[in-house]
Symmetry: C2
Amino acid sequence: MSKVTVFGAGAWGSTMAQVLSDAGNDVLLWGRSQQVIDEINSSHTNTKYLGSHVLPSAIAATTDLSSAFEFTDIYVLAIPAQQLRTTLQEWKGNFSSDCTIVSTLKGIEISSQMRMTEVIVDVLGPHKIAIITGPNLADELVLRQPAGAVSAAPTLELAEFVRDVFRTPYYRVYTSIDVMGCELAGAIKSVIALAVGISIGMGFGENTQAMLITRGLNEVARLCAAHGSDPLSAAGLAGMGDLVASCGSPLSRNRTFGEVLGRSGSMAKAREQVAKTVEGVASAQAVVEIAHRVGVEVPVIEAVAEIVSEQLSPADALQKLMEITTKGENFIR
Amino acid sequence: MSKVTVFGAGAWGSTMAQVLSDAGNDVLLWGRSQQVIDEINSSHTNTKYLGSHVLPSAIAATTDLSSAFEFTDIYVLAIPAQQLRTTLQEWKGNFSSDCTIVSTLKGIEISSQMRMTEVIVDVLGPHKIAIITGPNLADELVLRQPAGAVSAAPTLELAEFVRDVFRTPYYRVYTSIDVMGCELAGAIKSVIALAVGISIGMGFGENTQAMLITRGLNEVARLCAAHGSDPLSAAGLAGMGDLVASCGSPLSRNRTFGEVLGRSGSMAKAREQVAKTVEGVASAQAVVEIAHRVGVEVPVIEAVAEIVSEQLSPADALQKLMEITTKGENFIR
């Protein structure tokens, strides 16, 4: 049993806190909203984010940053990806040099094209940093439905430590030492999910979706390999698994935005219907640049970037994709 | 342009004939039913299998076996997998030694545990044999929705020849020289799709499905590697792609059967509701034996075999799966 602080009391942070509590840890949940935190402490609910779901009564919550840091030296980050840098800059003085930081964030920092753990190192300097990633939709995980995840860290020792902190009978945590591959796969999946949503909006079925998923992940794998990470991470829970879950969920913002875009051909209409940030839209161009930096062709991802920047209509982008010469199918060679 | 005979005038054979006609070939479609064949010749429809869909008028059809063989030396097989051996035994004298045989069949011959191309060689002896496989649901492909497929053959030359025969603007055909891996992946996907259906029937969502799909394909990859074929075929269109399409389609028999089984816990009820052959049910035990022959652990596939043989209830099988120790995620190492 460990003591763990989870930073972020939204749907995802609260769900991570429950997993960690179910795994036998002593959990403190930090959030900004006094109202949310008071409710968690008094009635063990978080109605704003989790409806009537009752969290384990052992989870304590606080808005006090110093208490949150003093509670333990194992910190789980569950804050919005694009706010990571500014948040860490504010909190910088609170991280001890030997603390363990677990990122549960998915995405690329748009301004710098950095992965989440790169941002952490950039702001805080070297630390023991791991990630938890995989097909983990909060609304299903909070119901304790069976799920798999990956604990990735630079050393197997740290990956196994984090696995042991998180695992419960319903949460199967595998280990990996390929942090970069797992983070790239988890970030890029949102762009592919957008492509799949667009194809659904255009009226296409399972064949087209399956082609985009498979060829999209092939691009992720080649991009990972070119960066020196393991292309097979793309075929694991962080890549294929997370993508399949995102594409299957009618709640996924990437898929929903893509559907409206594919149906209407209009970014304006899609933005109207999905008001929140859509990670795939925000990061498509950044991913294209990351790929081109290492000379990797990523036609599916490029098609999405061209659609969201309104250079091509969905129909023209698909036609362009279909005209590319097919070669050997191989994943990385 | 080539002359091609397609054997089998059901939904799948007729769809393949249309793809081949659209690709610019001169196509003859052979079928057993005089009524179906007459209708294709007179009104270019196959209402029994394809509703009101109108096939290209250039497709000719015949029930005459000699004419079907004499028409060309490129033969595309689209007959039921479990009838392949007896059918080929009947037809044996008609195959010339230098003909090209393209199998579009997916499955393992239950009695022998052989792959489809192994059965072909077993009955006919060595020939130029290739396969076409991938996420190609007939009802979508016949509408000319964009789809991807793999042409696999022992030599790249033959794989490219078959690719060129099949490809159209809406049918993207990649090449592979890993016939074994593509066939194994295409056959085993039905067992994993059954597992996914069972989890849906038990009330679980995208997280659980994504875990079963990803870890199931991990088993396929390890099984492929142990047989000396390319584990990455499992992550390609023949494996991941086909599985994702099967799991997404409410029409898939494996998924539907699994859903009833997961909901009721009863094989009898599932058999009542899905009267036709369910490939995943038929082949689960054969796949377990193929895996054990090379010493590979396949817990997801074993769980399905134990459920369909009524040794374990779906709930007990899932619990057993979740209790297995998690290790490194890696695909093949």
